[in-house]
């Protein structure tokens, strides 16, 4: 018990320290790498909060996508764009805000809301046995549908802001390609497993899609696939397929009592269908966020 208390204390201190270092230090490499480390600590914190679904998503997105995005940007932006910083003012402001928030938070009454009981009561009707998946795909399915729309908008924004004359392809790295040839099939397998596992244990479309996207990021990094210039028609269809499938399933249900309430007798199958479509589309979508932003190799590569 005591070990757990010390563990939580060290982890909480590490989180705050890593975040402060990432935001307040002067060196940009230090900032980005501390932020990657911060993501890993967040993964551990989610495990401690008994939220393995979030831990899975944080691990997959942090290690596979956010880190690569930021490191790629780090090589491209120069220190010249840095404005004059008022860093010394950040800490006093942060301490004040945190103190107020903490005071409010401690004043709140401790009791659990009605939601956990409501979810477990409705779980047998949902078609799956894992409560988080039931919430995501059944009870609050419209959240998930609209979230995909948000991601689609973000990708369109990225494609609009960054225009490449032609797709970027990094120099090929034969040794790393050999590693990628082993890792990528395993990532596909892991994505399939997570998708399947989502019905009865932590996992699901988001985590599976993040792992798929990470596979694409790896392939691009070792020079096996190109970045995106203008996505081809086939790619656009693949991205649209998941949300369209979701809509196609949602449309006939529109007349029922609430939005997107799945009929209990078919819910399990429908959820699996929706999740499979979403995994594919979200995988392309998330990969596209990186592949569209991929910079061409700088002139100064340091190669001799």
């Amino acid at each position: 018990m005591n070990v757990a208390v010390v563990f939580d204390g060290v982890l909480a201190a590490g989180l705050v320290w890593a975040a402060a270092g990432a935001l307040l230090g002067r060196d940009r490499y230090r900032a980005v790498i501390l932020f990657i480390v911060f993501g890993l600590l967040m993964t551990l914190a989610w495990v401690r909060l008994s939220a393995p679904d979030i831990a899975l998503a944080e691990a997959a997105i942090g290690a596979g996508l956010t880190g690569a995005l930021l490191l790629d940007a780090l090589g491209g932006t120069t220190a010249a764009t840095a404005g004059r910083a008022r860093r010394w003012m950040v800490l006093p402001l942060a301490v004040t805000v945190a103190a107020v928030l903490a005071a409010v938070l401690r004043a709140l009454p401790v009791r659990s809301g009605p939601l956990p009981d409501a979810v477990s009561a409705a779980l047998p009707e949902s078609g799956v046995t894992h409560p988080v998946t039931a919430v995501l795909l059944n009870f609050r399915g419209y959240d998930t549908l609209l979230e995909v729309a948000v991601l689609l908008a973000a990708l369109l924004g990225v494609l609009g802001a960054v225009r490449h004359a032609e797709p970027v392809r990094l120099a090929s790295a034969p040794v790393l390609q050999a590693a990628a040839r082993v890792l990528v099939p395993l990532m596909m397998l892991a994505a399939g497993y997570l998708l399947w596992a989502g019905a009865h244990r932590p996992g699901g479309a988001f985590q599976a899609a993040a792992v798929l996207a990470a596979a694409a990021v790896l392939l691009a990094l070792v020079g096996m696939i190109s970045g995106w210039g203008r996505p081809s028609l086939r790619l656009r269809c693949a991205i649209a397929a998941g949300p369209l499938l979701f809509l196609a399933i949602a449309a006939p249900l529109a007349g029922r009592a609430a939005l997107l309430v799945l009929p209990p007798q078919h819910a399990g199958l429908l959820i699996l269908l929706i999740e499979a479509g979403l995994t594919l589309s979200l995988g392309f979508l998330l990969a596209g966020l990186f592949l569209a932003l991929l910079r061409s190799d700088p002139v100064d590569t340091g190669k001799r």
Binding site: A173, V175, L176, A179, L183, L186, T301, G302, K303, R304
Partner: protein, 103 residues
Amino acid sequence: MLEFASTALMLLGAGFFFAGTVGLLRFPDVYSRLHALTKADNLGVGCIALALALQADGLASALKLLLIWPLALLASAAVSYAIAERAHALGTPLGDAGADDPP
């Protein structure tokens, strides 16, 4: 017997991680720090995975734990190659603390 092996492996794994951290703090250049790091990767994770696989409640969960080891090996091999190659390409010299930094 199983209990004892598990305990020993767990402590050994912790020792490898400790050695890796000390190496990272004390070794003089990027290449030797890379060397220290990969020891922790390869052996630390391996020992812990093996120790927990011995305690696992089924074959499937034991195999899943043991799968983590080769993955860690592969990742560390690929990354240390990539970083060492880049360090070499940038002309990082041997045996000099923080050599990739201009003073």
